[in-house]
């Protein structure tokens, strides 16, 4: 194993100096996937041909002495909710079992343009609906840190692949915490950018106004590099923002001294595991030692976030998933009439959780209920966004636990949807408000399970968010190794 090549920087240098080749690196990663993924289950589809073609191009550039792009030869894997031209894309669902998209997700296009080698597609909860990856129609993902436990969800495969060293970095999607929660459970870094920061073109929609694409990696620095690559206005996504993309990597080295870190009591509430609380409080103390000012803030509407989220998310999902009707692509059940085709296709093609959410959402949007549910939820959403706006008048970032607990056991919550929904209690607010959030490892429980520190920042201020997360990660690493 070439551990020295498990960071983006060292790998790129090695390829540039021709100490190794992109093809050799990709082959090594495919070998690792073969060795470890049987037990983890992070990958749904491998695209070796595409990967090797791209690696070959990088090697040719290196051989010709051309300047290498920032992610040259970096093995990256993609959550299977982002479409890839010619490579099967399932969204973790049976209904797209045979679906081969004719086009690439914009984020994938940008990664490849930056030299990344796409290894394959990662397992996830069906249509990104879940917090444990147990809703994958194919197989559950096992947490590499403890294989009896879930990796979190819905981007469980994305977090597990990085944690198990089967990819240097991955992309996931986050609708209510689906990047940050599995990052926390698997002990890696996961970022949900500001809404509009990264194009959603080619991201299979769950809930359009809440869906975000974001990166996973072992370090904040690598996450910053990936964000720099995928961020920015895309003419194919009307909701992508025309806001300048700073050099997030260069911004990391700026000092954090004097930055104000908010701590909201609503995020240290009932149900928070004492071990998680201790670790997160210690992390906040570490930030204080780095010269940050710790300031108490309040986000008073937090308690309504889960209900608000499940009305908006399911409402949008009920509409977004209407296209899976068997008429044009994907799975179609044998049937003799049109209505039978719709019923049987959707009955057999969707899993239980997806059907539950379609029904909830259909109800919430129905005539006579719309005002009481969907419209009301939108109003509460505005209040939650206002909470953040108010808090950010006083502080630059807000620190909290990413999740109330560490990774739970497979099967532990799969029959209790409500308990499962509460796993997202500290993450959904950022989706509702559209602010960026990151999860950084901040210690372990007595059972050696990772704990995540979550940080939020103002809209489009990923630079500050990443800077604080990076400073913390550097300090913690000095503590551990020093």
């Amino acid at each position: 194993m070439m551990t020295s090549l498990h960071s983006i920087d060292s790998l790129r240098n090695a390829i540039r100096e021709e100490r190794t080749t992109a093809i050799a690196v990709a082959s090594e990663y495919y070998q690792r996937i073969q060795n470890y993924d049987g037990e983890v289950g992070a990958f749904l589809t491998l695209c070796e041909e595409r990967a090797m073609k791209q690696a070959g191009l990088i090697d040719q550039m290196a051989a010709e002495g051309q300047p290498l792009p920032p992610l040259a030869g970096v093995p990256i894997a993609i959550k299977d909710v982002m479409v890839t031209a010619g490579v099967r894309t399932t969204a973790g669902s049976r209904i797209l079992d045979n679906f081969i998209p004719p086009y690439d997700c914009s984020a994938v296009t940008r990664l490849e343009a930056a030299g990344a080698v796409i290894l394959g597609k990662l397992n996830c909860d069906e249509f990104a609906m879940g917090s444990s990856n147990e809703n994958s129609a194919y197989r559950p993902v096992h947490n590499p840190r403890d294989k009896t436990r879930v990796p979190g969800g819905s981007s469980g495969g994305s977090a597990a692949a990085v944690a198990a060293g089967m990819a240097i970095a991955t992309l996931g999607s986050d609708t209510g915490g689906s990047i940050r929660q599995p990052a926390s459970f698997c002990g890696v870094v996961g970022l949900k950018p500001t809404y509009g920061r990264v194009s959603r073109y080619g991201l299979i929609a769950f809930a359009s106004s809440l869906d975000h694409i974001g990166p996973f990696a072992n370090t904040v620095e690598e996450v910053a590099l990936l964000l720099r690559t995928i961020a920015g206005r895309d003419p194919m996504d009307s909701t992508s923002a025309d806001v300048a993309v700073p050099d997030y990597v260069a911004e990391l080295v700026k000092p954090v001294k004097g930055l104000r870190v908010g701590v909201a009591k609503e995020y240290f509430a009932e149900g928070l595991s004492p071990e998680v609380r201790t670790a997160v409080e210690a992390a906040i103390q570490e930030l204080a030692k780095l010269g940050c000012e710790i300031i108490p803030v309040s986000l008073p509407h937090t308690e309504y976030a889960i209900s608000t989220y499940y009305i908006i998310a399911t409402g949008e999902a009920s509409s977004n998933l209407a296209r899976y009707d068997g008429a044009r692509y994907g799975f179609r059940a044998k049937s003799s009439t049109l209505s039978e085709m719709y019923r049987k296709t959707r009955d057999a093609g969707f899993g239980a959780e997806v059907k539950r959410r379609i029904m909830l959402g259909t109800y919430a949007l129905s005539a006579g209920y719309y005002d009481a549910y969907y419209l009301k939820a939108q109003k509460v959403r505005t209040l939650i966004a206002r909470d953040f706006k108010e808090a950010f008048r006083w502080v630059d970032v807000i620190a909290s636990p990413t999740c109330p607990t560490t990774a739970f056991r497979l099967g532990e919550k799969s029959n209790d949807p409500m308990a499962m929904y509460l796993a997202d209690i500290y993450t959904v607010t950022a989706n509702l408000a559209g602010v960026p959030g990151i999860s950084v490892p901040c210690g372990e429980s007595s059972e050696k399970l990772p704990i995540g520190l979550q940080l939020f920042a103002r809209h489009f201020d990923e630079a500050t968010l990443l800077r604080v997360a990076h400073a913390y990660q550097q300090a913690k690493s000095r503590l551990q190794h020093g």
């Binding site: 479409v83 998209p101 299979i204 209407a322």
Partner: protein
Amino acid sequence: MATASAVSPEVRAKYEPVIGLEVHVQLLTESKIFCSCSTRFGSPPNSNVCPVCLGLPGALPVLNKKAVEFAVLAAMGIQCRINEVSVFARKNYFYPDLPKGYQISQYDKPIAEHGFIEIAIDGGLKKIGITRLHLEEDAGKSLHEGFADAASKTAIDLNRAGVALAEIVSEPDMRSPAEAYEYLTRLKEIILYTGVSDCNMEEGSLRCDANISVRLRGESKFGTKTEIKNVNSFRFIKQALEYEIERQIGILESGETITQETRLYNATEGKTYAMRSKEKAHDYRYFPEPDLLPLVVDEKWQADIRGGLPELPEARRSRMIQEYGITVGDAHTLTLTRAMADQFESVAAKSKNPKRIANLVQGELLGRLKAAGLELEESPISMAGVAASADLVEAGTISGKMLKDLYDLSFERKLDFEVVYEAEGRPEQSRDTASLETLADEVIAANPKQVEQYRAGKKTMIGFFVGQVMKASKGQANPQLVNEVLTKKLEA
């Protein structure tokens, strides 16, 4: 089931119909409303498609700016107020030709509202209110014939999916099928003038649904309405409404109640039929489209668009009547299309007698076009040709008969008037006094009795002699000259 048994005029007179119309107009944008696919009609099935209009997973809509400008232009043409901020919404329903399972439309915040169209009815003008104009995407087409296993399968062509439409909803302000017909005629005329649609009903670029109910005269509440769909000409809409009014009155007269439902018009039978037996109000679960930002058409953009608004037909007619001394009927004919009115005005300004041009269009051109089955745009004789011919008649160079012959030749050879006139050697009516005098002498000699009458004081007999000479000259003589020669001889 009550049928549309003949309702007596007395019974019919007790009731007042209430009609509202929903018109879909396909906008003439080159690309679709949310993607860059072509909107060309008649392409092979499923050739003008992409991930966006196919509704593939992950694809997102991006609004076509031209579609917005066209919708605003149409809205201005029908006197609507433009909403600075409008919102797209999803209309959710399952149908195989609806790729996303929802149509992107506008719901509670349309792009334009509160307009009207004035229609001429019973010698006066009546304002028909327009509730709203909104933008939306078209669906695809289900095909039931024209492919191999059509007997057992339905095919879907998504070329039309995503084509930009403006839906124009009227107030229930019309009180007869004739008013509805007039409203549609005026609406189509205005849309054509704005140039945002070709309003071609055969190709589906103008579609109309009618809401109709009846109530006893004097009643202020509306009756239960039915919606008539699938009517593909204005004439059929009028017929369908006539049928539906009688059907509804028949039902009410027999003491039954109207079922609110959608009905299809069968033009061959002249009847409407219930589309679905159990038509319930469909719950479309509208909600704001999260993939699109609210549409903002600010004052500056509105002003820019308004700059492209042409003079509208009604205003143009009034001005033309004033300016060229033509009749109301002439004005209507000459403004049938904007192109025709433009052409008329470009030649009328230089013409000695614009009224004569208008007369020739009415009297000589339109009849020939109709007989040849041609549209105005296909006329072999251009407006410039009409103007040239008018000037020749005006100057006495050619006679009316010669003009008719030259027009016939134009239609025969499919060549413009001036080309034919040149090819015929620039004919002129005869000014050869010598031969005319011979003809006049012959006519006078052959009709002694009429000569006597004339000389006895019946001066109107001159007409008879002119006619005879003209006939003898095969229409080639200049009638004024003939008159002069004859008068001289007879008075001698």
